[in-house]
Symmetry: C2
Amino acid sequence: MEQMPVEALKDVAAYFQVLAEPTRLQVLNLLRKQEHNVGELAGLCGFTAANISRHLALMTQHGFVVRESRGTSVYYRIADESVYELCDLVCGNIARQFERSALSRAAFATAPK
Amino acid sequence: MEQMPVEALKDVAAYFQVLAEPTRLQVLNLLRKQEHNVGELAGLCGFTAANISRHLALMTQHGFVVRESRGTSVYYRIADESVYELCDLVCGNIARQFERSALSRAAFATAPK
DNA sequence: TAACTATTTAGCTGATTGGTTAATTAGTTT
DNA sequence: AAACTAATTAACCAATCAGCTAAATAGTTA
């Protein structure tokens, strides 16, 4: 991404945007174990099917999940396992970040008043 | 991130949210080569210093960059190089995604009417 | 101190978006 | 065809946010 036109940065940002939403992450997390249909995901997440359906449409459009219609239900599953690699990387970064801020809090706590 | 409480997913989402903005990605990209002060970054990005300053505050808060006040200027540099690893991963995913959609467009184009 | 430069913060505005309910579409079953 | 179930789409609302200008803060220099 060294010499990248601003236009391309918009695509990268849009990609990150898909992952920047707790409900969508929750859905991805659920799909990690196995495929699910919309109703199941809605129940597990505690939101309406309409809402989850919209999230799934977005994630499909960006190639995170794939859609398969079976009977009256529609099943979704992960399209690209590398998402989890990404999430694990981020979790590691957050953990480090958390540790850093915990350390500086500790420094404040032990500092002489 | 297998068995992750919903609360933690909010943190992960917030982390991705920081990267889900073209201007912030542009700033990170500029800082890849060397540190810059706010005015420089504003000029290079074509936005006001006020705007860039707010983006930098957010990125500092999330540990992406570090702030160093020198003279009347404030210089920022990357705090954690692993951000670029993340971005490169995403770029690869987008490229693959692009290729897939190019292929399916080609299939449509050659399909008999 | 006063004047000057750089950064940050406050306040505003328009655009985007996650949630909802209601209406529509698609597929199954009687 | 009619009734039923599941998913999607439309329309709405509240909240968030990126941009701006203007005001406030911090540091340097005359």
